[in-house]
Each structure stands twice: as structure tokens, then as C-alpha cells.
């Protein structure tokens, strides 16, 4: 009887419309994980700033303004100007686009590829699994930035190559986590049932096993997103990232501008602050997401 009541309560007549339910979910998340929600707000702000960059930025980020070299922060230039007279606030606003683009694209590419390798490795087993896992071990034997440095050094510094280099670093972890989930899912009754019903290998993997890998994959993606932002910054800082004059947060801290930083410290402070705040947001949001989605991975 109690079950019946519960069913009645949860029945369609009492279920709010989808936007209402989503809003309820968000409010619950904010109440339970205020720290994570603040992180989520920072990530959302990054997305908005990146999307509306032309409306927010008062100046062209690549254009020098005549007579405006090394100006300290003031109402007309809230973050000051750099050594060739470009408005730093506008460069940071446009830099958000680069950071967001590189980190999202590298995460999707890296985690997506890792996911496919993990599914194949876990489901096929045998020599396929062996070959893929040994290859992943070799990739794990490189620290991420060193691997990215080597790849960019060979491919050449460009937005696309930086993205590929960062993505490659995300593959091995994703493949190992997904492989683990697939291996345990293979033993489950629902997979046996699907097999007995005559489902093909591909259908079992993509229809039945794939949804189970989503929670750890989303958690991994959030970690990888933050790592990618720092990696892009580090590569650009070392002069092997996105070539100037494209405004990249890491790039703004490197090159000839470094000579002016002791006299114009705003050039050193604001780009790094932007990266730190965004990575802080991604980490805080990712932590909360991990607690909600995958309690086994709680640190």
C-alpha cells in the first residue's frame, strides 16, 4: 500500500514540467554543494564572457591604441594596457574564448577517443585489450606537459596542434577508467540477457554498457577540462602554444612583455588571475559533481 502511495505521489499528475524539474535539481545542488555551485557559476560566467566577447570588450584585443602604452588600470582601461598599447581587459575577455575553445575541444577529443579505446579494450578482451593497454601504459609514462611539448615541438605551434597535443594526454586515463567499468558491466545479468536475446556486440556496447560509463566519464571530463586550461596556458607561456597576437592567457605572461612586468605589474597579475579563478571554479564544480555522480571516486 505504501508503494502504491509513493507511485501515486510520483505519478505524472504531480510531476512538474521539465524546466521546473531541472530548476529544482539545480536548486538542490546549490543547497547541498554551495562551494561546487559557486564553481559552476564561475564556469557559467566563463561561457557567457566567451560568447559575448565582442559586446563586453571595449577595444579590439589585437589593436594597439595610439599613446596608450603601459597605462595603469583606470576607468577607460580597467586592467591597464600592455607594452604595445593593447587594452588588457579586452585581451582577457577574448582570451576566455581561446581557453574555453581549447579546453572543451581537447576534452571532447581526448575523453572521446579514450572512451572508444576503453570500450573496445574492455569488451573485446584478449590481444586487442593487451595491445591497447600496453600502448596506454607507454602514454602514461610521459608526464602530460612533456608529451604535449614534444608533440607541439614536432607539429608546430598552432591552435589546432595545441588542442591535439592536450587531447592526447587525456586519452590513457579515460581509456583505463572506461575499460574498468566495461569489465565489471560485462558480468552483469542485463548484458547476459541482451546477449541471449541475440543483440550484436556493437549494440551491447553502445546501447547497454555505454550509459553505465557516463558518470565516471563526466567526472573525468571535468578534471580534464581544468587540466586543459592550465596546459594551454603553460604551452603558450613556454612559447609553444597559440602564436601571438591571438590573445591567450598563458601567452600574455610570456615573451617580450615579461621585461615590463616589474614596472607594470598589472600585466603579470590579471591574465594569471583569470586562469586561476576559472581553474578554481572548474575544480570546485568538478569536486561537487564527483560527489553527486560517482561517490566511489571521492578523494
Amino acid at each position: 500500500m505504501a508503494e502504491l502511495t509513493a507511485l501515486q505521489v510520483a505519478g505524472p499528475a504531480h510531476t512538474p514540467a521539465l524546466p521546473g524539474r531541472a530548476l529544482g535539481g539545480v536548486l538542490r545542488f546549490v543547497r547541498r554543494k554551495p562551494f561546487g555551485a559557486a564553481g559552476g557559476a564561475i564556469v557559467l560566467a566563463l561561457i557567457i564572457v566567451a560568447a559575448l566577447a565582442p559586446l563586453i570588450a571595449p577595444y579590439d584585443p589585437q589593436q594597439s591604441i595610439r599613446g596608450a602604452r603601459l597605462l595603469s588600470p583606470r576607468p577607460a582601461h580597467p586592467m591597464g594596457t600592455d607594452n604595445i598599447g593593447r587594452d588588457l581587459f579586452s585581451r582577457i575577455v577574448y582570451g576566455a574564448r581561446i581557453s574555453l575553445y581549447v579546453s572543451v575541444a581537447a576534452t571532447v577529443l581526448g575523453i572521446g577517443t579514450g572512451l572508444l579505446f576503453g570500450l573496445l579494450s574492455g569488451y573485446a578482451g584478449g590481444w586487442v585489450d593487451n595491445v591497447i593497454q600496453r600502448a596506454m601504459e607507454v602514454m602514461l609514462a610521459f608526464p602530460g606537459l612533456i608529451l604535449a611539448l614534444a608533440l607541439v615541438a614536432m607539429l608546430g605551434a598552432s591552435l589546432r596542434n595545441v588542442l591535439i597535443a592536450i587531447a592526447v594526454g587525456a586519452i590513457p586515463n579515460a581509456s583505463r577508467v572506461v575499460r574498468g567499468v566495461v569489465l565489471s558491466a560485462r558480468q552483469e545479468d542485463y548484458v547476459t540477457a541482451a546477449r541471449l536475446l541475440g543483440a550484436s556486440g556493437a549494440r551491447i556496447v553502445f546501447r547497454h554498457i555505454l550509459p553505465n560509463t557516463m558518470a565516471p566519464v563526466i567526472v573525468l571530463a571535468s578534471v580534464s577540462f581544468g587540466t586543459a586550461i592550465v596546459a594551454e596556458g603553460s604551452l603558450s607561456f613556454l612559447g609553444l602554444g597559440i602564436p601571438p597576437p591571438t590573445p591567450s592567457w598563458g601567452g600574455m605572461l610570456s615573451g617580450p612583455s615579461r621585461r615590463f612586468m616589474t614596472t607594470s605589474p598589472w600585466m603579470a597579475v590579471f591574465p594569471g588571475l583569470a586562469i586561476s579563478i576559472v581553474v578554481f571554479g572548474v575544480n570546485a564544480f568538478g569536486d561537487a559533481l564527483r560527489d553527486v555522480l560517482d561517490p566511489r571516486m571521492r578523494g
Partner: protein
């Protein structure tokens, strides 16, 4: 235990073999040519061909690989395209700088992370805990290239102080050496300490819930003794695992901070080799990074047993 050590060491061989193949292929197969990078803006085809022949780049890939690996197995890592000297000499010259930097950075990370992690766990859900957790997440979020930049720029503005730029070896001028190394070590250590603080906190929290801790408390032991003598030792097992993962961070941190602080270490050597497209030097350096990383992770694995005898190896 001995069998486990042997098996793990043997397992490293295919990984190291794979590393040599990967490093070699990354350097040779992907477009980009050392010969054109070394010659002027618009080299003639003949000049390029001649240089390729001199560097041995015109030979079949398999032959180039076997020559290189054969050399590596005999301790010859290759000869620099630019200086024409053995690349191993450069590695020997720069490695002490990076090793010292990594050791000091590890020390800094431990000194910062352990007390904060312990305080956070012991005072769980108090203001100290929130403070400790905030510090750890900030440490995780601030990129080392920015922290390093600030560490150079701000003291120069505030105190008119710049870190010494001429490298002095530790064994010749220890005081000058440490004056030069403490700041970069702190920058790398700060980056690594965030993850370590979190791991110390969560590992200690888990151990504090165990029965033997309750027993120790019930016996009337002082809280300090329960935490430091009973709980911390077991909580260190996952922290040390973490340390293995942090070695990667220390190495990449070294690449960045050596560039910022002008230290002639292995990281600077790698960056210079990359900008000059000195393939043999890059190949050797990346191989060394991989080797060090793999060996340290093996040592970390083996050290578990010393800290926690319940872990048995099959």
C-alpha cells in the same frame, strides 16, 4: 616480495621499449624537418639533402631506429645536431640542477601539505577544515607559470630584490646555491602541495574511523600520540601513492620554473632543444623523462609494503 619486484621490473621492459618506439616515431614521422630548421630561411634543395645525409636522416626509418636503440642500449644516447657533442653530456650537466630542484620542491610540498592536511582532518567540519580545504583548492588552481612570474615580479617591486641569476653548484657554494633555489622550489612545491593536502586529509579521516584508533583512544593514549603514532603511518600509504603521481608535476614544474628563474636544468635544456629542433637531444630527454617517471612509480609501488605490512604481493 622478491618475485613481485622482479615481475614489476620485467613489466617495465615492454613499456620502455614502447617508449623508444613512440619517441622515435613522434620525432621522425610527423612533418617538420630538422634539416630545414637548421638551415637559413630558404635553403636550396641540394644543401638540404646534403645536411640530411650528414645527419643520417636519409636512411630508412627502421635503420635509423635500430642504430639509435642500439646506441641507447650501449649507453650512447646520440649526438646533438647543433653542438655535435654527445647528448648524454648535456643531460649529465643539467640533471643535478633539476634533481636538486625536485627534491627541495618535494620537501616544500611535504612541509606545507602534511600539517594542513592533518589539521583539516582532525578538526573536520570546523573553520580550520574549511580554511585548509580552501588553501588546497587554491594551490591546485594557481598555475605554476603564474606563481613563478609573481615570485619574480612582486619582490622586485616591493623589496627591490631579484633572485640570483648565476648558477652556483650546491657542493661549491651551498649558501649562494640555496639562495637561488629556495624560491623556485617553493613555487613548484606549492603546486604539488594542493593534491597532497587533500589526500592527507581524506586518508587520515578514513583511518581515524578504524577500530584500532578507537582502541588506542579507549586505552587513554594522548590524542597527539594516537594521531601521530597510530593513524598517520597508515594514512601515509595513499599519500605516497599520490607522491608517485606528483613526480610528473614536479618534472613539468621544473620545466616551467627553470625557464622563469633562469636555471640551467634539464627542463631548460629540453625547451632549448625543442626551439632548436635538436632531435637527438629531444629524443634523449623525453626518454629520460619517461624512464625516471616509470622507475619512480615502481619504487613508490614497492614502498607500500614497508609502510603497511598488510599489503601482500602475489
Amino acid at each position: 616480495m622478491q618475485r613481485y619486484v622482479l615481475r614489476r621490473a620485467l613489466n617495465m621492459l615492454p613499456v620502455l621499449f614502447g617508449l623508444t618506439v613512440a619517441v622515435f616515431l613522434v620525432m621522425r614521422v610527423i612533418p617538420g624537418d630538422a634539416a630545414s630548421a637548421m638551415l637559413d630561411e630558404s635553403p636550396t634543395a641540394a644543401a638540404k639533402e646534403e645536411l640530411r645525409r650528414q645527419l643520417g636522416l636519409d636512411r630508412p626509418l627502421a635503420e635509423q631506429y635500430l642504430t639509435w636503440v642500439g646506441g641507447v642500449l650501449h649507453g650512447d644516447l646520440g649526438t646533438s645536431f647543433w653542438t655535435n657533442r654527445p647528448v648524454s653530456g648535456e643531460i649529465r650537466r643539467t640533471a643535478p640542477v633539476t634533481i636538486e630542484l625536485a627534491l627541495l620542491a618535494s620537501l616544500a610540498a611535504l612541509v606545507v601539505a602534511l600539517p594542513i592536511g592533518i589539521l583539516s582532518a582532525v578538526k573536520q567540519d570546523t573553520v580550520w577544515d574549511y580554511l585548509g580545504r580552501s588553501v588546497s583548492i587554491i594551490a591546485l588552481s594557481v598555475p605554476s607559470f603564474w606563481l613563478g612570474t609573481l615570485a619574480v615580479v612582486l619582490p622586485a617591486i616591493w623589496f627591490k630584490w631579484v633572485p640570483p641569476v648565476t648558477y652556483q653548484p650546491l657542493w661549491e657554494h651551498p649558501r649562494q646555491n640555496l639562495a637561488q633555489f629556495w624560491l623556485p622550489a617553493l613555487v613548484i612545491g606549492a603546486g604539488s602541495s594542493g593534491a597532497m593536502m587533500r589526500m592527507t586529509r581524506s586518508a587520515l579521516l578514513e583511518v581515524l574511523r578504524q577500530d584500532y584508533i578507537r582502541t588506542a583512544r579507549a586505552k587513554g593514549l594522548a590524542p597527539r600520540s594516537v594521531i601521530l603514532r597510530h593513524a598517520l603511518k597508515n594514512a601515509m600509504v595513499p599519500v605516497i601513492t599520490m607522491f608517485g603521481a606528483l613526480v610528473g608535476g614536479l618534472l613539468t614544474g621544473a620545466v616551467i620554473t627553470e625557464t622563469i628563474f633562469n636555471l640551467p636544468g634539464f627542463g631548460s635544456l629540453t625547451i632549448n632543444a625543442i626551439s632548436q629542433r635538436d632531435y637527438p637531444q629531444i629524443q634523449a630527454n623525453v626518454l629520460m623523462f619517461g624512464l625516471v617517471y616509470t622507475v619512480i612509480n615502481l619504487l613508490v609501488d614497492l614502498s607500500y609494503a614497508m609502510l603497511n605490512p598488510r599489503i601482500r604481493y602475489g
